[in-house]
Subunit: 234 residues, 2 copies
């Protein structure tokens, strides 16, 4: 069933109105007819099925015929990542991480960050599109850009992936079982020594994601997928 | 150390000449000086270290000071994938799979394929760039586009990932231990029922890559990374 996204859904009101853009898409692209069913999610676990009553490229409405509440995953992945110089690489990560499953993404401003601004609206649209495409119902939380030190100081514990020397355990071997796991991924120039020291003092454990030298967005995706494989077994 | 790629390296000849393009890059971008070391790989496991003797933007040469042979990985990942309608998505997969580690990629022409041609030269350049960037020494093998049935009939066994119903085991649970594992990934419209039946008759086992609905290139990368995690433990 085609899936749409609405920030808020009032399940007490059976009448449902689609936006102008959705109406165009429903009538011109999907060529829906009265009586057809489409699904809508609020990205907070709610899925409702709407039966179309009136459809045109300007206005489409229907009524709510089914409500499903999808529970939040038991284990949550939280990736804090320095946005890449080429924003397309971060956008790829957001799309793929949403498909695979991620709870929260925090863009980090690091000492070696070349990119110091992001357009949250555009990134949120990518998350919503990936959510719909992959037929999921929990939209990842996208935080505002925050400085590395402020963010790390706010966390109780976590993991930091970097390319510097020192004792490291593979994330796959550590197999963390916490309800939420936060992993820090640095910019193209990696975290600075000061940042690594600061994170370790704040209860962040240094991890390895394998012997290869991975790009920022690949490292983030590898971390996300490794956690997703660990979480499915616990 | 910066890594360059040459199709063939003659280790019996200590004199080494860089191409015009490499000479420009070495002198103008990397600002190398006589005496500096750079690494070169042939993508077949060989790494040589070259000490620069003469450098200019037109011609750079040096001599071979060290030869290292990197053994091939014990376990090999082979992904046979229907190229995506938007070729950028396949290119993204090639780059990421090279970073993570993949032995062979076979582009498949399937019944539901919307893309029926690929530019192998361009794709090979992406593989070479990703190999250099991730500091690896085994270039993935990129096959010519081949029809699904011809390819499947050539294989002894393998795995097929599809979204149709039927009994499936998670790839992560199967944890295949063969020396080389081949996984088939379908186009945007999935494999046809005929193709799935044909594969199963030819000793291909149906697998699942998780409960999410993944895009073609995401499914391929998830399969590649799952195998890489399995291979590191056996």
């Amino acid at each position: 069933m085609d899936l749409f996204f609405h920030d808020t859904i009032d399940i007490k009101n059976p009448a449902f109105v689609f936006s102008d853009e959705e109406s165009r898409h429903l009538s011109k692209v999907l060529r829906k007819q009265p009586g057809d069913l489409v699904a809508v999610t609020d990205g907070k676990g709610l899925e409702v099925h709407i039966q179309i009553q009136n459809i045109s490229s300007r206005k489409t409405n229907g009524h709510l015929v089914e409500t499903i509440v999808h529970p939040a995953p038991k284990h949550q992945t939280h990736i804090a990542i320095a946005p890449t110089k080429n924003i397309v690489r971060l956008e790829w990560f957001l799309e793929k991480a949403t498909e695979i499953g991620i709870h929260r993404i925090t863009p980090l401003l690091c000492q070696h960050s070349e990119r110091k601004v992001i357009k949250s609206d555009r990134l949120t649209k990518i998350l919503q599109a990936a959510l719909k495409q992959s037929q999921q119902f929990h939209l990842p939380q996208l935080d505002d850009l925050i400085s590395f030190e402020t963010f790390v100081a706010q966390q109780k514990k976590g993991y930091i992936a970097h390319c510097n020397t020192g004792e490291k355990f593979d994330l796959a071997d550590l197999a963390p079982t916490e309800q939420s796991n936060c992993i820090l991924i640095g910019p193209e120039g990696d975290f600075s020594i000061d940042e690594i020291t600061f994170a370790e003092k704040n209860n962040f454990q240094t991890i390895s994601l394998g012997s290869q030298r991975l790009r920022t967005e690949t490292a983030a995706l590898v971390a996300c997928h490794t956690l997703s494989l660990i979480h499915r077994n616990i």
